[in-house]
């Protein structure tokens, strides 16, 4: 099946791709789906990089595919375990293709919608508006991927909705934190361009701080360096200073 036909199947009837035999579909469509995800999200990343231009085009083009692929790798075992405990007997040969199909569908739609984002960025909109537009696009695409994954996998009925929601929530948490770790996608106009920022704080603290700022409470935010991958000097200081 050609790339175009696989794209058409992903958009029109994703369930048909896994209906016959999940293991066979993984072998048949796996590489093509992976290619679709990488190329589509790279196109979207390059468009996001146009806000700053220059080397950020390449940086964002490389990081956007990682943003979509990292949650698949990290959250897949949790999703499979949640489905199995929830009474939906699926294995990796079913969850893997279903997740790849959902993500491929989302990234293809992001790629085809990217000219609209480029148009917006080309008129030099405010930095915060640019970030909001990117976040909104990613959240919408993520929800579409979640709905597609749930529709492709077996399990219907009210009891199963909770299982689907739990599995998708697990992937959503990893997706959100991946976005935080891989930032910046949109570099500030006058800031130095870097491939990645130091590991510090987390996406949830960041959202809470943004929420406070949106409500007019500018209390400032001290993004502390935390986590195994944080700066070793900071970790050493934390060790001697006691609990964080």
């Amino acid at each position: 099946m050609s790339v175009l036909h696989t794209c058409a199947a992903v958009l029109r009837d994703p369930k048909a791709l896994v209906d016959d035999d999940a293991r066979r579909s993984l072998e048949a469509y796996g590489p093509t789906l992976l290619g679709i995800i990488v190329v589509s999200s790279a196109i979207f990343g390059v468009v996001v990089g146009t806000y700053r231009g220059g080397i950020q085009l390449a940086f964002a083009g490389i990081k956007l595919p990682l943003l979509w692929l990292l949650p698949i790798v990290v959250a897949l075992p949790a999703m499979r375990a949640l489905y199995r405990v929830g009474g939906i007997a699926v294995d990796y040969a079913q969850v893997g293709p279903a997740t790849a199909i959902g993500v491929a569908r989302a990234t293809v739609l992001l790629a085809v919608a990217s000219p609209a984002l480029w148009l917006m960025y080309s008129v030099h909109v405010d930095y915060h508006l640019a970030v909001l537009a990117l976040a909104g696009s990613l959240v919408a695409a993520g929800l579409l991927a979640a709905v597609t994954i749930a529709s492709v996998l077996p399990g219907r009925g009210t009891g199963k909705v909770l299982v689907h929601a739990s599995a998708v929530f697990a992937m959503g948490v990893v997706f959100a934190q991946s976005g935080w770790v891989l930032r910046p996608f949109i570099a500030r106009p006058r800031a130095d361009v870097s491939f990645m920022r130091p590991v510090e704080s987390n996406v949830f603290d960041s959202v809470a701080a943004s929420w406070r700022s949106a409500q007019g409470r500018y209390t400032g935010w001290d993004a502390r360096k935390e986590g195994l991958l944080a700066d070793p000097d900071t970790a050493e200081r934390a060790e001697t200073a006691g609990p964080q």
Binding site: A78, V85, G86, A170, V174, N202, G227
Partner: protein, 191 residues
């Protein structure tokens, strides 16, 4: 004479009523040792992944032991109550059923914890959220144990298991008490 053999407990069915259709055999099969060991390894793996995120190595061991101590401790301490309670209240239910249900629950909790381990490692590597990850993972694994245990009991023994609800409450409280006890040791290591 038949009346003298009637069960003492008014809610329990009489021996005559035990001629109900046999339950599926696999529902009373107690999980094997490898399955249980895998489950314990999963719980330990999840705890170790979270423990790597603690700011001080002195708290690693205690943090790593929170999930396994909480879930297995609760199962060991409250499991006999479940078995004895069902034997007493439901004479029609085979004695292996609650043991098998609890074993399946532990196996499910272990597989959940093992599945969550890569996520936990990612989150503690990129953030300082290890306490939240520990709590969330412990809660998810605990819910998994409870859901699978109750589901297996319901399938094997049928409905009307009000006693099981009371047992779940007891097991949750005991599990939380053990987990917080071990968690306090982890916090002590940070001081």
């Amino acid at each position: 004479m038949t009346q003298s053999l009637a069960p003492v407990h008014p809610g329990a069915p009489s021996p005559v009523a035990t001629s109900s259709p046999p339950r599926p055999t696999e529902l009373v099969e107690v999980p094997g040792v490898p399955t249980v060991l895998l489950a314990l390894a999963g719980l330990l793996a999840f705890g170790a992944c979270v423990g790597l995120g603690t700011p001080a190595w002195s708290s690693f061991t205690a943090t790593a032991l929170v999930p396994i101590a909480g879930l297995v401790g609760a199962a060991v301490l409250t499991g006999p109550a479940l078995v004895a309670g069902l034997i007493f209240l439901r004479p029609d239910v085979a004695a292996e059923v609650p043991v098998a249900a609890l074993g399946r629950g532990i196996a499910a909790g272990g597989s959940l914890a093992a599945g969550l381990a890569p996520m936990a490692l990612f989150l503690v590597a990129t953030s300082g959220l290890w306490p939240l990850v520990l709590l969330a993972g412990f809660a998810v694994a605990g819910i998994g144990v409870a859901v699978v245990t109750v589901r297996t009991l319901m399938r094997a023994a049928g409905g009307k298991l009000g006693f099981v609800a009371a047992w779940i409450v007891l097991a949750v409280l005991v599990g939380l008490r053990i987990a917080f006890g071990v968690g306090a040791m982890a916090m002590e290591g940070l001081r």
